[in-house]
């Protein structure tokens, strides 16, 4: 789209590393071939995804405008993937290994977001940056310009090793065993484009953490999570990693399994390579819903998985890169710009400084230095703010900037004496919001704003909660100030809601003949201990009542908590039944004519729709029984959770399975299909009428939820562990969600038919 695209290549010339320049030439050539119809849609889609060029909402050329679904008439009818129009704006993801930035990178991001996007650069929950509303023909130029400052977008998406994350305070942390930065950097570039990491059935996520107890690295929700540990042998202290594998969020969250308590530092790269080989050889390829490493680890069991990896490790050909970087570690540490100096107690600090200091300043391991967090609202930063941070990073530190998984930026190595001046400079750019790590600093995925898969507006809700919580400011009780709220637009969990104190993910419900945006409330997740525990869903609340729900839950915590009782402990103590009771009064939806605001989402005045579903004239006739039955199913899942909590695994598993059967039966009844009683008949009827016909298929995960039912049926009555039962309950929850969605589609169908 940009008239200058053709000139940038010559302009940047030698500033682009040769290899990367050649790759980008190839990518540009592929774009040209696609325009000539010489590359298949699917092949081109994977090609651009591996370069970080994603699709965006409405790129199929259809958009519901609040009244009807209309066609967006883009000039070209060409496509850039199956059902993805050429001219439709897309998203460019930019990989930033371990969040490592510098001033010129920030300046480049500023230029790009201004020239090609909407003036905003967005920090993601994986320390990446994203630019939205990008035209595919601009992407090679964007990538060249990024390459000129040492950034590659290669393998930012697709079935590849995604951005390697690490604690943003690695190296300056008071709790760390040692600085994980060099290891995160080494593995990121070692695995990038590695032949053994090209044949995965799904993405592969790596994280490094400097310690076990704190959260920054979140290793236990990763495919490959490494925690820095040291071991004394013969008077010598050796560095290594406690290695966890097979974790992940998404529709079926799983905690990683301990692979080894100590993988020596020189072995971390070869072990990663060997795991990549096992994953590429044995991981699922056809069904993307079971293709993550977590499924392979579960299927094989950790003992067998480890045996296979070790066997693979033994036959690997030596690669000098495995250890070459280690010799540079002693001399590669970051250096400060200024001398260390303690903060001088001044008679008058700038207004607001002390409040900001309490939340946004971390005292480093190195005396006299601090790390400053720049809290970004919903991870968004403007071009001029990026330039300001670049300037400040040159003025106060040696360009030591990192992005964080909490969607913020940090400046490391600030001399403490400079803190008041830095605060004043940040304030000038509206970057001194005193909310880092507090309940106000709500994290969110893009949701329905731009994500093709979003169900509800996670960013809209996050924005609303931020405003409301910030308004309470000083009134907020100390005990809730440090809680974390995280929101995902759907069950895919990109907002990491599972590990928040209060997590939410977008769902929908049919109410009063309309589809109404809701959020599932997920309580009890643990951010600390490297994402030590995942929360469980306690019920769905209409989007518009989530703020009241938050007030109720936090209010109750403030009122009833025992001294120094954590939020997780409190939730555990009062139990899920009580939690559900707390939210029950917020689940009601007024009639449309009483309050139409419930029928649109936060920040979006259009009447809410799920895809192209409109209001079914006949929906009212069928709503009552099915709604009743599906709500009963939800309750059964909930009760299954309670059973699990009380340690009754067989009963919990049985109830979760029963809830799935009841959901399937409810759908069969909606279609007025005769079903004989008995689980076999229900499952067979469901398979015939909903699976084989694809009526139950989710647009994204296709038949996955139905297959979960078939699997649960196959395994019914067999002994289960705590973990497999937990997983079954998660699957039952999502199966019931899918029943709600399927029912919404069925009930909307009559409107879609010609009159």
């Amino acid at each position: 789209m940009k008239a200058s695209n053709a000139q940038w290549k010559g302009q940047l010339g030698s500033q682009i590393p040769n290899q990367l320049g050649a790759e980008l030439d190839v990518f540009e050539h592929e774009i040209a071939l696609k325009q000539q119809g010489k590359i298949e849609d699917r092949v081109f889609a994977e090609t651009r995804l591996r370069r970080g060029a994603y699709g965006q909402r409405y790129d199929n050329g259809q958009r519901a405008d609040g009244k009807a679904t209309r066609t967006l008439n883009y000039p070209s009818t060409n496509t850039k993937g199956p059902g993805t129009l050429w001219d439709a704006p897309g998203m460019q993801r930019i990989k930033i290994p371990f969040g490592g930035l510098n001033a010129s990178r920030l300046e480049m991001l500023a230029d790009l977001c201004e020239e090609y996007s909407d003036g905003i650069a967005h920090v993601t929950t994986r320390q990446d940056f994203q630019l939205h509303y990008i035209h595919i023909e601009d992407t090679p130029t964007i990538m060249r310009r990024l390459a000129s400052v040492g950034i590659t977008t290669r393998e930012a998406c697709g079935n590849s090793v995604r951005n390697v994350t690490a604690c943003p305070i690695a190296g300056v942390c008071r709790e760390q065993s040692f600085d994980v930065t060099p290891y995160a950097r080494a593995i990121a570039y070692f695995m990038l484009g590695h032949p053994d990491a090209q044949a995965f059935g799904r993405k592969f996520k790596i994280a490094f953490s400097g310690c076990k107890e704190n959260a920054c690295g979140l290793v236990r929700l990763h495919d490959f999570g490494a925690i820095a540990v040291t071991r004394k042998t013969g008077g010598e202290t050796r560095r290594g990693f406690e290695l966890w594998v097979g974790g992940g969020l998404g529709p079926v969250p799983q905690q990683a399994k301990l692979y080894d308590e100590f993988v020596p530092e020189e072995e971390i790269l070869p072990v990663a390579q060997a795991i990549g080989r096992v994953f590429a050889q044995l991981g699922e390829k056809k069904n993307r819903n079971t293709a993550r490493l977590k499924f392979l680890v579960s299927k094989l069991g950790i003992v067998e998985f480890k045996r296979l990896v070790q066997a693979e490790r033994e036959i690997l050909q030596h690669d000098p890169r495995w250890t070459a970087y280690l010799k540079d570690i002693p001399t590669s540490a970051e250096l400060p710009l200024k001398s260390p100096a303690l903060l001088q107690i001044e008679p008058v600090f700038p207004h607001g400084f002390e409040r900001w200091r309490a939340t946004n300043v971390y005292t480093q391991l190195q005396p006299g230095y601090a790390t400053v967090t720049i809290a970004l609202p919903l991870g968004d930063i403007t071009a001029s703010q990026l330039r300001l941070v670049a300037d400040l990073s040159r003025r106060y530190v040696r360009e030591t900037i990192r992005s964080t998984v909490e969607q913020n930026l940090v400046l490391r190595w600030v001399s403490e004496a400079d803190l008041p001046a830095l605060f004043t400079d940040l304030e000038r750019g509206h970057l001194a919001s005193p909310v880092a790590g507090t309940v106000v600093d709500v994290a969110s995925c893009p949701g329905t704003d731009t994500c093709k898969l979003g169900i509800a507006s996670s960013r809209g809700l996050a924005g609303e909660l931020r405003v409301r919580l910030a308004e309470k400011g000083a009134e907020l009780d100390e005990s809730i100030r440090g809680l974390r709220i995280k929101i995902s637009g759907c069950f895919n969990s990109c907002g990491q809601h599972h590990v928040a104190d209060l997590g939410f993910y977008g769902v929908s419900r049919n109410k009063n003949g309309y589809t109404v945006p809701h959020f599932q409330v997920v309580l009890g997740g643990e951010w600390t201990n490297n994402a030590g525990a995942y929360g469980l869903a306690i019920g769905a609340v209409p989007s518009k009542r989530i703020p009241e729900t938050v007030d109720r839950i936090t209010g109750r915590y403030v009122a009833e908590r025992a001294p120094s009782e954590t939020f997780q402990a409190f939730i555990k103590r009062i139990g899920k039944t009580e939690c559900k009771k707390m939210i029950e009064e917020f689940t009601a939806v007024p009639r449309h004519d009483e309050d139409p605001s419930f029928y649109s989402d936060w920040g979006d005045p259009r009447e809410f729709t799920l895809g192209d579903i409109g209001v079914g004239e006949c929906a009212g006739e069928v709503i009552a029984p099915i709604d009743f039955e599906l709500v009963a199913c939800e309750r059964e899942v909930f009760e299954a959770q309670l059973k699990l909590e009380s340690g009754d695994i067989p009963q919990a598993a049985a109830m979760a399975y029963e809830s799935m059967l009841h959901g399937a039966l409810a759908l069969l009844r909606v279609k007025h299909l005769p079903v004989e009683s008995g689980a076999d008949n229900i499952v067979e009827g469901f398979r015939k009428h909903f699976f084989d016909t694809e009526l139950f298929f989710d647009p994204f995960v296709r038949g996955k939820f139905a297959q979960d039912l078939f699997k649960a049926h196959e395994n019914a009555g067999q002994p289960r562990t705590l973990e497999t039962t937990h997983q079954l309950i998660e699957e039952a929850q999502l199966f019931i969600e899918a029943c709600f969605s399927c029912y919404a589609r069925i009930s909307a169908a009559p409107v879609m038919a010609p009159a």
């Binding site: 958009r63 000039p75 979006d604």
Partner: protein, 190 residues
């Protein structure tokens, strides 16, 4: 340093060729910015998409009200974006031309200016804003949203100054910003 299309003037000074410049942006500032609640713009932009009454193909609304001094609320189009832009905490209607246009710089500037003014007219006529919202058509910024075609340099200024003066007769034109910024001039009625 960027190398746009440079030519030499008669006096030997270097300047860009104005007719190679694309992606002209025009921002018209509001007279009383405090009178506008940006939240009110969101449903209007959604309706504009539904009713399709701007000349560009409209796609979506992006809402950045949560970002201070940011891009505000945008109406994303294929050929151009319209927004109630709040950069530098100066609220105004911004027309950001994304697609290239045939013709001369004068024609491109004229197109962007007319599109921006037409959008201002429409917004002022919206029921909710009638009599409240007023754009100051005598206070504008003109940008070029492409650092290669028109970096914020003396050469760009020399190349575009005459063109801008010819178009905005009776206005003072002043170059703005630092080298890292987009090429931008402030245009104010004398």
């Amino acid at each position: 340093m960027l190398r746009p299309h440079i030519r030499r003037a008669r006096d030997g000074s270097r300047m860009i060729d104005p007719n190679t410049v694309q992606h002209v942006n025009v921002k018209v500032f509001l007279k009383e910015p405090q009178a506008l609640n940006l939240a009110d713009v969101v449903p209007i932009f959604h309706r504009w998409i539904r009713e399709g009454f701007l000349q560009e193909m409209l796609v979506d609304v992006a809402d950045y009200r949560h970002v201070e001094a940011g891009p505000g609320v945008l109406l994303i189009g294929h050929e151009a974006n319209y927004s109630l832009d709040n950069r530098e905490n100066r609220l105004g209607l911004l027309y950001n031309r994304k697609a290239s246009l045939d013709g001369t710089f004068q024609e491109r500037l004229s197109q962007a200016y007319r599109a921006a003014i037409a959008a201002c007219d429409r917004l002022e006529q919206e029921d909710i804003f009638r009599g409240i919202l007023k754009f100051d058509r005598d206070t504008l910024d003109v940008f070029v949203n492409d650092r290669l075609l028109a970096p914020n340099t003396e050469e760009s200024w020399q190349g575009l100054r005459g063109e801008l003066e010819a178009f905005f007769q009776g206005f003072a034109i002043e170059r703005q910003g630092e080298p890292r910024d987009l090429f931008r001039v402030a245009v104010t009625r004398r």
